[in-house]
Symmetry: C2
Subunit: 301 residues, 2 copies
């Protein structure tokens, strides 16, 4: 039997940890890099190896998946003082799965290329639960050869792999358009539920009708359940959408393209974050609407 | 065998015609009222009876479904010069399924009550195809007795019947909140597809990724296919959402409640209508974005 593929996940947040565990479940050897000792301990318990940086094991790796929060962290993890890129064996493929701009994807691919490291521009969608099940959707762009090198890793982490093009940046762009929809749909769901609350419609009834009608969205069904339950424990936070919709509007500005709905949705999430709800579940954007009583709130609000 | 229930559908547009045919398929006797002779002829061919007004058969009816375009048409059809309400047998239930305001629903219920006619405030969702299959979603409010009287009709036309309350106006309100989502989702889908076109992402690829990801919505999947195909033949028109989102924002104004996304979506559809695209498919709202080339458009646009 061939030796197991050794893959390192950089960034053990909810998406990275799920992905690392899916790799273990698929029979790969999973390494993790995260500054938080608690995250490293969790991966070790799950059967992986983890550390605050990858200097001890970089030379052993067959592939890298980057799942940090933004382009700045990706740059630091790869090329910073304890960055892993200079230590990887030449030819090791790097799957760039953070949500970043097309420009950042091209920049990182260029820097990796200096070390002979091929990059796949490969953002993901699906959330932590699907990540843990190895059932992500990957929207990837890059040369055929890089897809081939990463095929055992893609098989371990993804249910659907879309080849959206061969040019680095196209994967990032598709993800940005996707996040436009995801963010607007959460904000629209919140607006609808707040409006229903103002009009005296029970939110559980509203939820039930919408999820069985043409007004439904994946995000409405998933996130507005949290509003109905009055439970804003973060699965994915308000601040993630401040970041992602910020990236959406910046990318549109560079293309001189107006995004009337996404701009408003960004305003709604930024407003929620500035009110102190940035670390709550993204569905907490509903709290920006005043003059209503939501489930779980005290009567005297 | 008991005689078939005789139900009259007022308004043989795409929803009304579908509903009338579903009634026939369910073994009911279907009557139709529509000012357009072509619509009446279509229902007669399908096995129903139809006329420009209901004076000839009003006394024979067991139930009425109103599926005209707005409250003004409903008022005219029921109480105008050749209106049917004064001619119906006392106690005949009227299922009010047009999308109208809660105030209009209460007003119409009050006028019907003067003739001893109980009304169910019963908007529908699902589109012409489901209407024709008898598989609509009904979001209804009214007294228990009115639900009971209409139960054979509801069984014929609906897959899901939600009893959203007992007070007239609550059904209309739930439908209005639903249309907020439906309208915003179409506009958001158009915005996302226009943005993808500007960024050089093939729209069929974008459609494929979104419909398999968390960014999906019922409306994106249904309507953006028309954009991918470059086919704006109206199934449901831009002007329907000018009307419905107008109703959404008016209702919100009465409740002094801000709807940031729905207001923008209204602006987008009104903008499309004023450009001359009101009778095109509602997905043609994508045409408000300039500086892009959509599928089916000539290269020199």
């Amino acid at each position: 039997m061939a030796e197991a593929i050794r893959v390192c996940i950089i960034g053990l947040g909810s998406m990275g940890m799920g992905t690392a565990k899916a790799c273990i479940a698929a029979g790969l050897t999973a390494y993790g890099i995260d500054l938080r000792p608690s995250a490293c301990a969790e991966l070790e318990t799950a059967g992986g190896k983890a550390a605050g940086d990858g200097r001890a094991f970089a030379g052993e790796l067959d592939a890298v998946i980057v799942l940090v929060i933004n382009a700045k962290q990706a740059e630091e993890a790869l090329f910073g003082a304890s960055g892993i890129a200079p230590l990887l064996a030449k030819g090791t493929p790097v799957m760039m799965s953070s949500t970043i701009s097309p420009d950042a994807a091209r920049h990182l691919a260029g820097r990796l290329d200096e070390y002979g490291l091929p990059m796949l521009d490969a953002p993901v969608s699906g959330g932590p639960v699907k990540a843990g099940e190895g059932r992500l959707t990957v929207m990837a762009a890059g040369p055929e050869a890089t897809f081939d090198k990463l095929s055992p890793v893609l098989a371990a982490v993804a249910e659907n792999v879309y080849r959206v093009g061969s040019g680095i940046g196209q994967g990032a762009m598709v993800k940005i358009v996707h996040q436009l929809l995801a963010g607007v749909h959460i904000a629209a769901g919140a607006e609808a539920m707040a409006f229903a609350a103002r009009a005296g419609i029970p939110l559980d009834v509203m939820y039930d009708v919408v999820t069985h009608s043409a007004g439904n969205s994946w995000m409405f069904e998933n996130r507005m359940k949290h509003v109905v339950d009055g439970d804003f424990t973060a699965r994915s936070s308000v601040d993630i959408f401040v970041k992602d919709l910020g990236l959406v509007t910046e990318t549109a500005n560079k293309l001189a393209f107006p995004l009337p709905l996404a701009s408003i949705a960004y305003t709604m999430f930024a407003n929620a974050s500035n009110a102190g709800w940035g670390n709550l579940d993204d569905s907490a954007v509903v709290k920006i609407f005043n003059g209503i009583q939501l489930p779980g709130e005290a009567d005297d609000v």
